[in-house]
């Protein structure tokens, strides 16, 4: 096992395309670390540099404080689970799992012992002698994990390992995978574009967009304290609402105003703005579950017109007209207003996020 650290790592393709820009983060020994981002954000390039499949344009990658930039993949002792699993189609399950052991010239008895252990661990014993072409998606996925863990790697890299499975199996494999990795205690880098996987499995998440690391933190930290507008909008389903507003000070009181609302900030929120000297024009971000809706006026609330109602049983998603945009609210299932009705809305002020209009940075970010 090992820690993995990236120091100012860049990947530039063909002298022009910047796939990874100045990545700096550290995954601790034994940690389940997820790299999350939309496709094309540079997460695959990052992991390919860590695995040694891609050259590092600039910067350093360290395993246990040792620079591995020039080390070929065969010597890094990383194991990788590929998106398409990359099983050797001409070999059976047993030989696929044994493949990384064969090159190490281990005695046959030890290979056998290790393969059997991995197969038992993953529940693959009944199919050991089966050709991999005849396996189901879930089994193939487990074989690829078996091949990765059988040689006790320093770092286990998983590149979208379950994104090719169908939805039901994916949810089950998510839990199973997390349990298995926790049991092994191996340092794991988990690459995905699916926030649900990252949130559910990872100890910490690094969010990437357009080649840059946006934020590194625990799932809850990222959810409740997004570093910028991208992170806020990327994490959470339904996604965070955004609208432009202005911070106004009137004597002792602070208000945020926009054509659609005027909201007085409570003491906690006000305290966070004390000493704020930046642009009073801000972008407000509120998650749908932090939008509180009532059919009758509440203190410090404002009326909005209902655009669309989406009952989901346990909860209802309401689309509201806010400054000409759609603003989603997620409320309990028994609240079901009519379309075009005016409802009264206020926000859970503990979970209001304010972003710089130009840079998107969270102006109240607590690092």
């Amino acid at each position: 096992m090992a820690s993995v650290e990236l120091r100012n790592v860049w990947k530039i393709y063909g002298g022009k395309v910047q796939a990874v820009i100045d990545a700096c983060w550290k995954c601790n020994d034994g940690e389940f670390f997820s790299i999350l981002g939309p496709s094309g954000c540079g997460k695959s390039s990052t992991l390919r540099m860590i695995a040694g499949l891609e050259e590092i344009t600039r910067g350093e990658i360290l395993f246990d404080d040792r620079v591995v930039n020039k080390m070929p993949p065969s010597e890094r002792n990383v194991a990788m689970v590929f998106e398409n699993w990359a099983l050797y189609p001409n070999l059976n399950v047993y030989e696929n799992i044994a493949f990384p052991l064969r090159v190490r010239n281990l005695p046959e008895a030890e290979i056998d012992r290790k393969v059997k252990w991995a197969a038992e661990f993953l529940g693959l014993e009944p199919v050991l002698k089966t050709g991999v072409k005849h396996l189901s998606g879930g089994e193939m996925q487990r074989v690829s994990i078996g091949r990765a863990i059988v040689r006790e790697p320093a770092v286990l890299i998983m590149d979208e390992p379950i994104s090719h499975l169908d939805a039901g199996l994916r949810a089950r494999m998510r839990d199973e995978l997390k349990k298995q990795v926790a049991e092994l205690g191996v340092t794991t880098l988990y690459i995905t574009h699916d926030q649900v996987e990252s949130m559910a499995m990872a100890d910490r998440i690094a969010i990437m967009n357009l080649g840059r690391i946006q934020q590194v933190g625990t799932p809850l930290d990222i959810y409740y304290n997004p570093a910028n507008e991208f992170v806020g909008g990327f994490i959470g389903e339904p996604p965070m609402n955004f609208t432009l507003c202005e911070l106004v000070q009137e004597g002792e009181n602070y208000f945020i105003t926009s054509p659609s609302f005027r909201l007085q900030l409570d003491d906690i929120c006000k305290a966070r703005f004390l000493g704020y000297r930046g642009n009073p024009k801000l972008k407000l971000g509120v998650r749908p579950e932090d939008v509180l809706v009532s059919l009758t006026p509440m203190p410090n609330s404002f009326g909005l017109r209902v655009d669309f109602v989406e009952p989901q049983g346990d909860r209802t998603i309401i689309s509201l007209q806010m400054n000409g945009d759609i603003f989603l609210a997620q409320v309990l299932g028994d609240l079901r207003p009519e379309v075009n009705q005016t409802v009264y809305v206020t926000f859970d002020q503990r979970h209001m996020h304010f972003f710089d209009v130009e840079t998107g940075v969270n102006v109240l970010y607590m690092s």
């Binding site: 065969s74 194991a79 990359a86 050797y88 090159v103 040689r151």
Partner: protein
């Protein structure tokens, strides 16, 4: 044909009869099918007739060959041509020479072409120029380089030897082998090789342990094609070999013209003896071969 609707051709036809649309069946489906069969028969005939002709000529009396051009023997059947073909000309030696040249040149071609192609595709060896250049050599008519090649072979003292000829065949067949292997190697997902690298295998071991088992059908097909090309090759064999110890079969055939007058019967027998081994080989590998050729053909 249409009595009580009891005829059975197949579902397609039944459906048409049910629609009482026999004229459609005749004009579109039946005609198309008959036309296709006739065309195929004509094609097979065109290919088979020369072989039938050779076979029948080899069984005709020499006198009959001279007076009759009939496809099949009209007089008594004889084996005299076969006996003379082997007695008057060292045919066995020619066949042996051809086998040595074809076999070893094919092995050499594969040993060089497979890693070369792999390296060109995966590691972009030689950039765009090297693969283009390899293919370019195939476009050029061999006669153009016959004099320099003869001079080179002579310079190293390999003229009139099997080694000299098989080296030249290796060179001549290299472009086609690289071209055929190209599509096979391209079809292998990169991730498989990357998985092997990460698993601890060197690049060469990855080629040997992961890539090779997957492209084996392609290697076989390429091998058979190179074997056929070398077996049938005439120009270089004619230039580079001039004695019994190194003449190959195609050159040997021409001996029946020179030394004993024009011996059609013996020549036919020898020709048949020479094409039978290669036909058997192709027959054995036909599945690989068809796959190999069509794959090469699909490539743009």
């Amino acid at each position: 044909m249409e009595t009580n609707g009891t005829f059975e051709i197949h579902a397609e036809a039944e459906e048409i009869v049910a629609r009482k649309d026999v004229s459609y069946y005749v004009s579109h489906i039946l005609f198309g099918r008959v036309f296709r069969i006739v065309l195929l028969l004509l094609f097979i005939l065109a290919i088979l007739i020369p072989i039938v002709y050779i076979a029948s000529t080899s069984l005709k009396e020499p006198i009959e060959i001279r007076v009759s051009g009939a496809l099949l023997p009209t007089g008594p059947i004889t084996t005299i041509n076969w006996i003379k073909a082997f007695r008057n000309v060292p045919l066995v030696r020619y066949l042996f020479n051809s086998t040595v040249v074809a076999f070893f040149s094919t092995i050499l071609v594969l040993v060089i072409a497979v890693p070369t192609t792999y390296s060109i595709i995966r590691f972009k060896t030689g950039g765009w120029f090297f693969p283009a250049w390899i293919l370019g050599t195939y476009v050029m008519p061999p006669i153009v380089v016959s004099i320099p090649i003869f001079a080179m072979v002579k310079m190293v003292g390999l003229q009139n030897t099997l080694l000299g000829l098989l080296l030249v065949h290796t060179m001549a067949n290299m472009p086609i082998a690289v071209w055929l292997m190209d599509s096979y190697i391209r079809a292998i997902p990169k991730e498989l090789e990357q998985a092997a690298w990460i698993d601890g295998y060197s690049k060469f071991d990855t080629l040997r342990r992961v890539v090779f088992p997957l492209i084996r059908p392609g290697v076989l097909a390429t091998g058979v094609i190179c074997l056929i090309l070398s077996w049938n090759e005439f120009l270089f064999a004619l230039i580079l070999t001039y004695g019994v110890q190194s003449n190959t079969f195609p050159i040997g055939i021409s001996r029946y013209v020179g030394e004993h007058g024009l011996q059609f019967g013996e020549m036919s027998a020898a020709a048949l003896a020479g094409i039978v081994p290669i036909y058997i080989l192709v027959f054995l590998f036909s599945r690989n071969l068809v796959e190999g050729l069509t794959r090469g053909g699909v490539k743009g």
